[in-house]
Amino acid sequence: MRDIKISFKGPDTYIDINAEVTDKNAYKQECLVNILTNRGSDPYYEERGTTLMKEALGGTLISATTAQFACNNATLDTLFFCREQDTDLWRSAPWRITELTMSLVSLTNSRMTTEIYAVYADETEDNTRQPLPIITNGL
């Protein structure tokens, strides 16, 4: 599976049309996009996205426990949605994510940093943890 790469750099996130991601990285990128998409912003897919960004920006993540709980919900929703969108060709692909974890690294008033951890269908793990900073004052 191939896709155009997105460089996640907070407010400087951009589509890098000169680079591509493949297989595992492409699937992980798809999941990341879903996590960061606000639930309800897509008029054609009501179940797309998560409420994580709204909760972070809305100031409801008042503790590490609450933040971790929100991350867990986000990864669960994302996994369900992305697997639902898989085509028949990819349902048996080895790079398909079977387990997705988002761990809270740090939480402050203006910034929440997390790490994404994935387990794939071929039972390999994503050893290169993907830092995902969420700046609560405007991502």
Partner: protein, 581 residues
């Protein structure tokens, strides 16, 4: 996070091509699209893309999926919606139901069938011209009648002028014209069919001014309220008429002649046709050639079907059989006699005998001529005396001929002769086909008693129900058949709960006459079938073949119903008391 593509360059060639009716008037806004349609389109697009390159991630949340596939799905869905709407506007059936997306496009589209809002039904009617002298009159084609500041011209299916011929003479085939009728009071009248602009109100007895006054003209007045026609057609009405311009109206088929009649005679309310093989077609079975000669009977009912005519006819005394006998020259074929009077002396229907003869026994014989222009009627009233003197006011001519003046009130369809003239006009008369125009055979309903249970607490509106039942029965002709469910519906709408029974007494009136032939040689008209139940109103008689003596046959295609005044009654049943008859 839905990535949005920003278009920074517009191809000027494309932008000029985009000024197209479809885009301007049919493409829906993005917000008007059904999300389910977009999802469905996207799924189809993904399947399509995967046949090109199955490796590219086209799913939701993928860069290509969100930036290319989803926007394409939105545009294609909009195009599909626009195409569907355009196809709907090309569908005459949808337009006729009022399902129209773009009125401008539909109006122009219907123009391609020569159907536009100016194709309206003209106002039509009859002007009765009364003359003081019985002789020939010629009305030029440019003759105009002015009623209510509107000009009406004579309806002329044939070439040439309109000829008004002396009383008692026959119509000359291939010419426009009519024969004068003696009104019994020294005058002679002729009914002239006219047409004019639509939506004009002309009432019965309105006086007509003429651009040219013929000699001896006493009066020219509208015989009845004119049919105003229709001035403007809505798009759905135009769409309903459009198939008439597509299907070739002709005399070569049942549907063709029906279409032709509807187009040529807009004053017709209903029309039916019988052809070889139909139960009701007798002429094609019994003909002097002994083989099928392309016979077709056209049965028509105009919007003036319930017109009441009053005529005075002269019956001369015949010493040999002590009767008063005379030819009944009618204006339009009578189908029900209301009253017969000689002066102030009522005659009653039983007090006279009417004979029917055909003026063309090859074309239509005996019952086949009934209700057609070929039926010639003769009325015979036996002289009844009291104390040696006739009960009737007998008059004596200057030459000593004794006679009485019979006043006859009857129901007729005055536009029916015009249907015959138009269908048999020179340029339109079908070749190699024996075509005849007749009125429907009436089933006379003497009694129609509706037994019902009313809705508790409701006062049923029986007056309206009576009018609706009368209208339903009077206009129920082919392709419709009588249905008792319609009576149920009418009674329910009027406040009744359920109709328990309808008691009917009716009979088929094969002809207005009692006998076919003349006084010396005749056969009696059939008295059967007698109708006593509501189901029998959909009568077919005989079940097989036809009556070989009178050549009578009736079926779905040639019957109609005539309700005698006062026949429709209602009887309320108390709940639990069901009628047994």
């Amino acid at each position: 996070m839905l990535m949005k593509l920003r278009i920074t360059h517009v191809n000027p060639y494309l932008s000029s091509r985009m000024d197209f009716e479809l885009f301007n008037n049919y493409i829906p806004g993005v917000d008007d699209l059904d999300p389910a349609d977009v999802r469905d389109c996207r799924t189809r697009l993904v399947a399509y893309f995967q046949t090109i390159d199955p490796d590219i991630n086209t799913t939701v949340n993928a860069t290509v999926g969100d930036c290319v596939v989803t926007p394409e799905a939105i545009v294609i869905t909009a195009l599909e919606t626009a195409t569907g709407d355009l196809l709907s506007d090309l569908n005459l059936s949808n337009i006729a139901q009022g399902i129209i997306k773009n009125c401008t496009f539909v109006a122009n589209y219907l123009l391609t069938f020569s159907t536009d809002s100016s194709w309206y039904l003209k106002s039509s009617g009859i002007i009765r011209m009364v003359f003081s002298v019985d002789k020939n009159y010629v009305l030029d084609r440019s003759t105009q009648f002015t009623l209510n500041d509107t000009i009406f011209t004579i309806y002329l299916p044939e070439d040439g002028s309109f000829y008004i011929r002396p009383a008692g003479t026959d119509r000359v085939a291939g010419t426009n014209g009519i024969t004068l009728i003696d009104d019994g009071s020294g005058g002679y009248f002729a009914d002239v069919p006219v047409v004019g602009s639509a939506s004009v109100e002309v009432l019965a007895n309105d006086t007509a001014a003429m651009n040219f006054l013929p000699d001896n003209l006493v009066s020219a007045m509208a015989l009845f309220d004119f049919d105003p026609g229709t001035q403007e057609n809505t798009l759905p009405e135009l769409a309903q008429r459009t198939p008439l311009t597509i299907y070739s109206p002709s005399s070569s088929s049942r549907k063709g002649i029906i279409r032709f009649t509807e187009i040529s005679c807009p004053f017709v309310k209903s029309v039916s046709a019988t052809i070889r093989g139909d139960k009701e077609m007798i002429r094609d079975v019994v003909n002097p050639y002994g083989m099928g000669a392309g016979y077709m009977d056209v049965f028509a009912l105009s919007k003036m079907y319930a017109f009441t005519e009053e005529q005075v006819i002269r019956l001369n005394y015949v010493d040999a059989d002590d009767t008063f006998t005379g030819r009944f020259y009618y204006t339009g074929q009578p189908y029900f006699i209301l009253e017969l009077m000689v002066g102030s002396v009522p005659v009653g229907r039983d007090g006279c005998t009417i004979y029917s003869q055909s003026s063309d026994i090859v074309k239509a014989y005996r019952a086949q001529a009934a209700y057609s222009p070929f039926e010639e009627l003769t009325i015979v009233i036996p002289n009844t005396t009291q104390g040696g003197t006739s009960i009737y006011p007998v008059r004596t001519d200057t030459d000593g001929t004794k006679y009485i003046q019979l006043s006859i009130n009857y129901l007729t369809d005055p536009m029916l002769p015009e249907v015959s003239n138009i269908l048999l006009a020179g340029d339109d008369e079908p070749q190699n086909m024996n075509l005849m125009v007749k009125g429907f055979i009436p089933i006379i309903i003497e009694s129609f008693v509706v037994q019902y249970i009313k809705e508790p607490g409701v006062i049923p509106d029986l007056v309206t129900a009576q009018e609706q039942i009368l209208n339903y029965l009077s206009t129920c002709t082919a392709p419709d058949i009588f249905s008792s469910a319609e009576i149920n519906t009418i009674v329910k709408q009027a406040g009744g709960r359920v109709v328990t029974n309808v008691a009917v007494a009716a009979h088929v009136q094969w002809s207005i006459a009692d006998r076919f032939g003349d006084k010396e040689s005749y056969v009696e008209a059939l008295t059967e079938p007698v109708i006593t139940t509501i189901e029998q109103l959909n009568v077919t008689y005989p079940e097989t073949g036809y009556d070989i003596t009178t050549l009578a046959a009736i079926g779905f295609r040639n019957r109609r119903y005539v309700v005698v005044e006062g026949a429709i009654k209602f009887e309320e049943q108390k709940f639990g008391h069901l009628a047994t008859t």
